[in-house]
């Protein structure tokens, strides 16, 4: 791994700047007046009770929904209302709450599909099998295997994605997102459905990804052990509004946050 232990000199600079973001569905304000600032290299958590609007925010950030109000700046570039593909090219990749893999494709092709915009050759190159085709495909194979190795999926590279057990499917989803070389990686409940052992491993993987792939991570999670274990900062969402924002420890011990989670 060439990227291992590379110190990120840009750490601390503002990466994501979300300003007064809002969207309503019919009469329901799903997200209202949402602000979020994430610095480069941070591991940021987005938590809140069910239905608080967490996944909606992910969908707004990735262009699945267009916001009614507000602005999203990624690394100084305005990405508000851009289509998902463009936003991915600008540098946001994500995973999904309910796993969305290319289930009929081999594990390695799931990652190679994500390398699509970084390793290019034309349709003519593909059909006439030019040297460029072989060279690029070889480079793609190597890169994909390198990424799969990080997630300990390299031994399953030729399996169909749907043949993997649940925990490894989650890992493959993260691997696929990482392959697009995102500046910001969004993880939607990465530990959902995992046992404590798997969750523990996942925490290590997430930290490793942040440290070695030169990326910033924003994650949604209900597992408080994971959140308190790896997130440096938190935003708590309740009924589409920010309830509390700040350092993890302070936020989790805030009386208002405890009330939102446990009730009166």
């Amino acid at each position: 791994m060439s990227e291992v232990n590379k110190t990120n000199t840009q750490n601390g600079k503002l990466l994501l700047d979300v300003d007064t973001l809002g969207i309503s569905f019919g009469g329901l304000k799903a997200v209202d007046n949402f602000n979020l600032k994430i610095s480069k290299g941070e591991l940021y958590g987005l938590i809140g009770p069910n239905g608080a609007g967490k996944t909606t925010i992910f969908n707004l950030l990735t262009g699945v929904y267009k916001p009614d109000t507000g602005k999203i700046l990624l690394d100084g570039v305005d990405i508000t209302g851009k289509p998902t593909i463009e936003i991915n090219k600008e540098g946001i990749a994500r995973t999904f709450q309910n796993i969305r893999l290319f289930s009929d494709l081999p594990v390695i092709d799931n990652v190679k599909a994500a390398l699509h915009n970084h390793y290019k050759y034309s349709l003519a190159d593909a059909i006439f099998r030019t040297p460029k085709y072989f060279k690029t495909e070889k480079a793609m194979d190597e890169k994909a295997m390198e990424i799969l190795k990080v997630f300990e999926l390299d031994n399953a590279a030729s399996y169909k994605a749907s043949q993997l057990p649940y925990g490894r499917q989650r890992k493959l989803e993260i691997a696929r997102a990482i392959a697009t070389e995102p500046k910001l990686l969004l993880l939607d409940e990465p530990a959902a459905g995992m046992n404590p052992q798997e969750t523990h491993e996942l925490m290590d993987t997430i930290k490793f990804v942040r440290d070695n792939f030169n990326t910033t991570i924003l994650l949604i999670e209900h597992d408080m052990k994971l959140v308190s274990g790896i997130c440096e900062k938190l935003t708590v969402l309740n009924f589409g509004r920010v309830l509390k924002q700040g350092e993890t420890y302070e936020v989790l011990h805030d009386p208002e946050v405890i009330k939102a989670y446990l009730g009166d």
Binding site: N88, F102, S103, A114, F128, Y133, M140, R176, A177, T180
Partner: protein, 355 residues
């Protein structure tokens, strides 16, 4: 690297299968044991196989149900035929055919693109119905067209041959429902097999490329594909256009195997589209080899069963059901997967031992 060689092997197996099929038929033909009925089926077998594998791009690789494939075949057939009786009439036979094939593919691709713009916005059943309608529209429009040529250029009418107002040196090319007559009939089995091999070459190389991967990724999960930066409309269109172009090639072959070309419900209607779809479904959706085998069996079978007269279609239906069960029944699939797994295990063991 192992992955690549495995895929290459699979592609090679397909080419070898086709070449073996060609060799068997040629030997059968040369030794004089082939009935004239079978001989007459050789070129149709080729264009049916091309149609089946080309529809497999849309249905199997891109995952959309298209019921208008015969429409693109029709476009290719008439493009090729028009060229054959006009500019191509004075060319050497083979050159004429080659140019006609390129023209047919190009014009079909253009039609595929134009029809793809509205159609590919739809999904599932809606896409199927609209492609069905487009296929019928193409056939019916061509059925109504009168096309003539004279020293002033092409004349077109939808009324009758007289209203073309041709000069004295003019000839009518398409006579409405009577179609195009005086075609060269210069297609043969060898050319058909070469075209099939070229189609296979294009399709298999497409599947094992970044473009093909993008098309299949979009098929498997559209939302996830967008999230990693794959353009859904671009790659769906790519699959649709390539499929249409190859159907056009099959159409040119079809037209060059006849002396008179007409657009009837039988050859370019939805029955034909459904039949091509049956080849694809029975051969296993996304399975290139399977769709070719299905095309061969289902083309030869009705002819071979003629001696059963009234019971012919009964047997045909039974074979359809048997093939469907073999390819699609969960138990049959599980059995095949177990078989493949045990083969793979053995192979992996061998590799380990070698290492």
């Amino acid at each position: 690297m192992k992955e690549i060689s495995k895929k290459t092997k699979q592609s090679l197996a397909t080419y070898i299968l086709v070449i073996a099929f060609y060799a068997v038929c040629e030997i059968w033909l040369k030794t004089g044991n082939m009935s004239s009925l079978m001989e007459g089926l050789l070129v149709p077998l080729c264009y049916y196989m091309i149609l089946a594998v080309s529809l497999n791009i849309v249905v199997g690789i891109s995952g959309e149900l298209s019921l208008g494939h015969a429409g693109f075949m029709c476009v290719g057939a008439f493009t090729g035929a028009i060229f054959a009786v006009t500019a191509g009439a004075n060319l050497p036979e083979l050159l004429e055919l080659v140019i006609a094939i390129f023209l047919g593919a190009a014009v079909s691709a253009v039609f595929g693109f134009l029809i793809g713009i509205p159609v590919l916005r739809l999904r599932g059943d809606y896409l199927a119905i609209v492609t069905l309608a487009f296929g019928e529209i193409i056939k019916n429009v061509i059925n109504a067209i009168y096309l003539g040529v004279d020293s002033a250029g092409f004349h077109i009418s939808i009324k009758d041959a007289l209203s073309l107002n041709l000069a004295e040196d003019g000839t009518t090319i398409i006579k409405g429902a009577q179609g195009i007559t005086g075609l060269p009939r210069n297609a043969n089995f060898t050319i058909g097999i070469i075209l099939l091999l070229i189609s296979l070459f294009i399709i298999q190389n497409l599947i094992n490329s970044r473009q093909g991967r993008a098309i299949m990724a979009i098929r498997d999960n559209r939302i996830a594909a967008e999230s990693i930066g794959l353009s859904v409309s671009k790659y769906k269109m790519m699959a649709f256009v390539i499929s249409a172009a190859l159907a056009g090639v099959a159409g040119v072959l079809y037209a060059h195997n006849l002396s008179t070309l007409q657009a009837t419900p039988k050859n370019f209607g939805y029955n034909m589209s459904i039949m091509i779809l049956v080849f694809v479904v029975l051969g296993g959706i996304g399975n290139i080899k399977g769709s070719m085998i299905a095309a061969v069996i289902l083309t030869i079978l009705p002819e071979k069963l003629r001696f059963l007269s009234d019971y012919r279609m009964l047997i045909y239906a039974v074979v359809l059901i048997a093939m469907m069960l073999f390819n699609s029944a969960p138990k049959a699939i599980a059995f095949r997967e177990r078989l493949m797994e045990s083969i793979n295990l053995k192979r992996n063991k061998n590799i380990k031992e070698e290492a």
